[in-house]
């Protein structure tokens, strides 16, 4: 589903990604973790072309992301993305947030988009908030709406860029619950996160990044059992010690 081959990226002289390669097959849930500045957010943004890369290749469902001939908007329409800071559109009501992509990009009718939006709101438990605006919801609620907004486009896979790191602790679980459910339904997911509990529960593989390198790319059992690199061991001992 997602193939990342020898991707390197520079910001000017500074190299943020070095020779990153991995594959995510259909139905897989892959959690990407690593210290801040390790390039994990940059890597996930390369997958749907929000960030450009200078070397290597990324293909989503067989379509090359780096190819200048690729119709990126069309590709992105089917790759759901959830951001750290939710990024709902503040001037639109919740239902409008869910409908706008469906009507303007997928060409669905307003009624159809509205219906689909309400169904997804039901699913993330926010039907009662349908007519509010993003600024009137809590962070956890906003992030659940953001997930519903991505799902409204019927994505073939979902990218999560630190979906819980801007949330108060008590709101993290409501978002993770939605993600777990999604994972259990067989959605292909790439999740940048430090939520090791989530990784243990639903991940098929865990990727550990450091200084722009993919240091570790292992099954969940291997990773939490005996991560091979010293750096990953250090990282795990730091975030799992409490």
């Amino acid at each position: 589903m997602i193939e990342i081959n020898n991707v390197s990226k520079w910001y000017g002289q500074f190299q943020v990604l070095t020779d990153c390669s991995t594959q995510i097959t259909k139905g897989d849930v892959v959690v990407v973790c690593g210290p801040s500045g390790s390039g994990k957010s940059t890597l996930i943004k390369c997958v749907n072309g929000l960030e450009a890369f200078q070397q290597g290749a990324i293909a989503v469902n067989g379509t090359s992301v780096g190819d200048p001939k690729t119709n990126l908007p069309k590709l992105r329409a089917h790759v759901g993305m959830v951001f750290q800071h939710f990024e709902l559109f503040p001037h639109m009501s919740i239902t409008e947030n869910l409908a706008i992509g469906q009507t303007k990009v997928l060409g669905r009718s307003k009624e159809e988009a509205h219906e689909r939006g309400l169904k997804l709101l039901d699913r993330v438990g926010l039907r009662s908030q349908a007519d509010k605006f993003p600024g009137q919801l809590s962070g956890g609620q906003q992030q659940r709406v953001a997930i519903a907004r991505a799902l409204a486009m019927d994505p073939i896979c979902m990218l999560f860029d630190e979906p819980t790191s801007a949330l108060d602790p008590e709101m993290i679980n409501e978002v993770l619950d939605v993600m777990v459910e999604l994972a259990n339904e067989g959605m292909t997911m790439m999740v940048v996160s430090h939520e090791m509990g989530f990784a243990r529960k639903v991940a098929d593989r865990v990727i550990f990044m450091d200084h722009g390198h993919i240091v570790e790319d292992a099954t969940k059992e291997e990773f939490f059992g005996t991560p091979r690199s010293e750096r990953a061991q250090q990282f795990l001992s730091k975030i799992l010690s409490h």
Binding site: K45, N48, L50, L72, P73, K74, R76, A77, H78, V79, M81, F83, Q84, H85, E87, L88, F89, P90, H91, I100, G101, K104, V105, L106, K132, F133, P134, G135, Q136, L137, R149, A150, M153
Partner: protein, 245 residues
């Protein structure tokens, strides 16, 4: 002060005609409003486009927009007015130049509107740019991630918020366009300032004339201000801090 006050002057007839001085002022008021509103339409349109272009990743377009802003912002409005009126027609191709100088209808008015509109557009462009840049980059990414093209992202995501954010400086600009329209008198538009001067020369009651015009400008700007405040209130986003009262 040895001045002969005569507030009744407005109802007296002008020296060479049937109308009263009040009629002159009313005509002037009409031209002022016409110049200001027409220029405002041009300014909003061009300013919105140019300001947007300055924030796009396309370097050529951004450079063009920067040149636009620098050109119209760095030359005094009065000089621009004279340039448009006396110099630009000379630079046009011969036939067009002749047409502009001899046959163009409402030549002074059209020139003043164009000049004031473009001058103001440079200022609005800067405000639009600031508004766009004040939004988190994540908004642009969220728009693109949903499958919008860049123009769609601007249309549905970025500009609706940017314009809401810049309503306060836009309010000042809308008031400025009324006040700046007075410069149009220099090329002979029969607006308020022109009429006040004409009344001063014709009646020798200059103080009354200029005071009356002052009040009329004040009223224009005041209404403009209240109108924008109304729009600001109407376009407020519930739960959004930056526009909350």
């Amino acid at each position: 002060m040895n001045y002969h006050w005569n507030w009744g002057i407005f109802f007296e007839q002008v020296k060479a005609g049937e109308e009263t001085y009040l009629d002159w002022l009313i005509t002037g008021f009409g031209w002022t409003v016409a110049v200001a509103l027409s220029a405002w339409v041009i300014a909003l349109l061009c300013g919105g486009i140019i300001g947007t272009l300055r924030t796009t990743p396309h370097r050529g377009l951004a450079f063009f927009a920067t040149c636009w802003v620098e050109l119209f912002r760095n030359v005094p409005l009065l000089v621009q007015m004279l340039l448009w009126f006396f110099v630009v027609p000379e630079l046009l191709p011969r036939d067009l130049s002749l047409w502009v100088k001899q046959d163009m209808p409402a030549k002074e008015f059209v020139t003043a509107v164009l000049c004031l509109g473009l001058f103001t557009s440079a200022r609005i462009a800067e405000q639009v740019r600031a508004g766009v840049q004040s939004l988190p980059n994540g908004q642009r990414m969220a728009g693109l991630a949903i499958g919008f093209t860049l123009p769609q992202t601007y249309r549905y995501v970025i500009l609706p918020m940017a314009f809401r954010i810049i309503i306060p400086p836009l309010t000042s600009e809308f008031m400025n366009v009324f006040k700046n329209s007075s410069v149009a008198f220099a090329i002979g538009v029969l607006e308020l300032t022109f009429q006040a001067r004409q009344m001063q020369e014709d009646s020798e009651q200059g103080i009354e004339a200029y005071l009356a015009v002052t009040v009329l400008y004040f009223i224009c700007a005041f209404i403009a201000n209240r109108g924008m405040a109304f729009i600001e209130k109407r376009s407020r986003v519930p739960g959004f801090i930056a526009t909350a009262k």
